[in-house]
Amino acid sequence: MSNTEAKRGERSTWSWWYLLFLIQFAAVLWPPLYNRAEPALLGLPFFYWYQLACIVVAAVITALIYLITES
């Protein structure tokens, strides 16, 4: 056990770039940020289009993290 514990070096799999994930968490899990109707986009209240936009932003962040950490 102590043997495997000593070998448990997480450095090979951890990257500081992963902290970028915190952006997408904060952006969608803090409703006061976006719980309003204005400005609307094409008639869609802010509440809705903001969160939909967050999906796209989160996907881009994830793709970036993948590209950076994979190389």
């Binding site: 997408q24 803090w30 409703p31 719980n35 309003r36 094409l42 809705y48 969160q51 989160a58 994830t62």
Partner: protein, 511 residues
């Protein structure tokens, strides 16, 4: 109810015929020996990035998604959009945790979460707890898929008979038995294309017919358009919304069907790529949630031809009614087939996952310790049939309108496996008995709290003079984790020389 819609029904039956053929033909796709459990139950772990995308997407974004989320928007408004932060929060978890889990499972031939916990902690009782949780949470989830199917069958104008549902169920059972995970994987490709077409048509065509998004949202009652602003000293609707999203995200990937689909990927890399690609489905889900508002603005609930449907299925009938109201009959057939097939894909994967769990972690652990690989695979095939039959019986007892809340109760149970699974992927520090106690207390407390709130997801927690309503699963996870940590510290202090069983080593967890 209204008359049978023959054009829509024909298209529906035609598409169902196509996927039935596909389901059986899938047995020969990327051929493997289906008498081996990892071939039947994980398709030999050979799916690359693209097939994994279709499979996991078809698996996680279920018929429930396409019926219940818009139904919630239709009935309750803005709160239904929690599905969006939910799906945003889930992918970092997929990216960080699950490639590690994939690697260790690949290395040791683990097929289920129970296998991993058994190997990591050397504790068959902890593995049993994880296994039972998975099976029990999965059963109502399969039933929920059949509810989705029921709603679209009703929408086609067929009423007063359960025969179509039973036929669909028999087809599902037969191709799952024959082809294993290859069946839902191949069908998922067709289903997802149909769903994307339907969703795009709905969000483009219907707003034009209704005079634009501005007009649609003007029809939404003011108090439902946004979340209610919390009173002083209360987290109010904000707390409920955020914890519901986060808790659901934490629970989702722990479900047996999620893990089954993820483990069938060919590499950890395919999983990481999918964390960036799967949000495509999230976007579709968000757009479909808007369709609930379209149904509200179109006033489908007040149209006499849909009265019977709403009476039978409640708000879950909102989307089918809107499609019937807005689309030509042939396209209604396509849309309903998309939802119907959307029920079969996850139902197949869920029954496979539950069967894998029973076979590996109950039967082979407690009943017959040394089955041949062939016996093991055969048993799983039979169990998959039993699980589906159970789900069919189950839906007779569950009122349709509680579909979404029932799924949330399953989420409360499922999230209790997080400490053993997710933290276990990183460290063996937590004591297995401490984890078991944490699981038991979390499960009990979560169930009691949910029942005290009539199975509503949010629990009105009071701390001092603060009101903190939040998702029960999220609160009980904190309790569970707290107990696991404190008990681990206590047990470590009590016994100076501890023998820790762990058949995995650090290098098993990455490439």
């Amino acid at each position: 109810m209204h008359d049978v819609n023959w054009v829509a029904l024909s298209v529906f039956v035609l598409l169902f015929g196509l996927i039935t053929w596909l389901g059986f033909a899938a047995a020969r796709w990327r051929q493997g020996d289906l008498d081996q459990l990892h071939e039947w139950g994980l398709a030999g772990r050979r799916f690359g990035t693209l097939i994994t995308w279709f499979l996991v997407g078809g698996d996680l974004y279920t018929a429930y998604t396409f019926i219940a989320v818009p139904a919630l928007a239709f009935g309750a408004g803005a709160v239904a959009f929690f599905a969006v932060p939910y799906t945003v929060a889930v992918y970092p978890l997929l990216f960080l945790v699950f490639p590690r889990l994939w690697h260790v499972c690949h290395k040791h031939g683990y097929i289920t979460a129970g296998d991993f916990v058994r190997g990591r902690y050397g504790n068959r009782w902890l593995a049993l707890a994880i296994t039972l949780t998975g099976i029990v949470a999965t059963m109502p989830y399969i039933a929920l898929q059949l509810v989705g199917l029921q709603v679209v069958i009703g929408g086609l104008g067929i009423s007063g008979t359960d025969l179509p549902l039973i036929i669909a169920f028999l087809i599902l059972a037969a191709f799952t038995y024959t082809s294993g995970l290859r069946a839902p994987a191949s069908i998922a490709i067709v289903k997802d294309l149909l769903i994307y077409v339907t969703a795009l048509a709905a969000v483009i065509v219907i707003p034009i017919r209704l005079g634009g998004l501005g007009r649609i949202f003007a029809a939404v009652p003011h108090e439902q358009l946004l979340l209610a602003v919390p009173a002083p000293h209360s987290a109010g609707a904000y707390g409920a919304y955020a914890t519901l999203a986060l808790g659901s995200a934490l629970a989702l990937l722990l479900y047996p069907h999620s893990l089954t689909a993820i483990l069938s990927a060919s590499s950890g890399r395919a999983i990481r790529r999918n964390a960036a690609l799967l949000p495509g489905y999230s976007l579709m889900l968000g757009l479909l949630a808007l369709v609930g508002f379209f149904a509200l603005a179109a006033g489908v609930a007040k149209l006499p031809e849909f009265a019977a449907g709403f009476e039978q299925f409640g708000n879950n009938f909102a989307v089918p009614a809107l499609f019937l109201h807005s689309f030509p009959d042939w396209f209604v057939g396509v849309a309903f087939a998309a939802i119907g097939i959307g029920a079969l894909v996850p139902a197949a994967i869920m029954s496979i996952a539950a069967a894998n769990l029973y076979t590996r972690n109950i039967h082979c652990e407690f009943i017959n310790r040394n089955p041949t690989p062939k016996q093991e695979a055969q048993l799983a095939k039979w169990v998959s049939l039993i699980v589906k039959a159970g789900a069919l019986v189950f839906i007779l007892f569950v009122p349709t309108k509680f579909a979404i809340y029932l799924q949330l109760l399953g989420g409360i149970w499922m999230i209790q496996t997080l400490p053993a699974l997710v933290i276990g992927v990183y460290t063996r520090w937590l004591n297995d008995w401490a984890l078991l106690v944490g699981w038991a207390v979390g499960t009990y407390a979560g169930t009691a709290m949910a029942i005290s709130q009539d199975l509503k997801p949010a629990y009105p927690l009071k701390l001092g003079d603060w009101n903190l309503p939040g998702y029960t699963a999220f609160y009980t996870l904190i309790v569970n984790l707290g107990i696991a940590i404190v008990l681990t510290l206590a047990l470590n202090a009590l016994s100076a020389r501890r023998v820790v069983a762990d058949e995995t080593v650090a290098t098993d967890y990455h490439a």
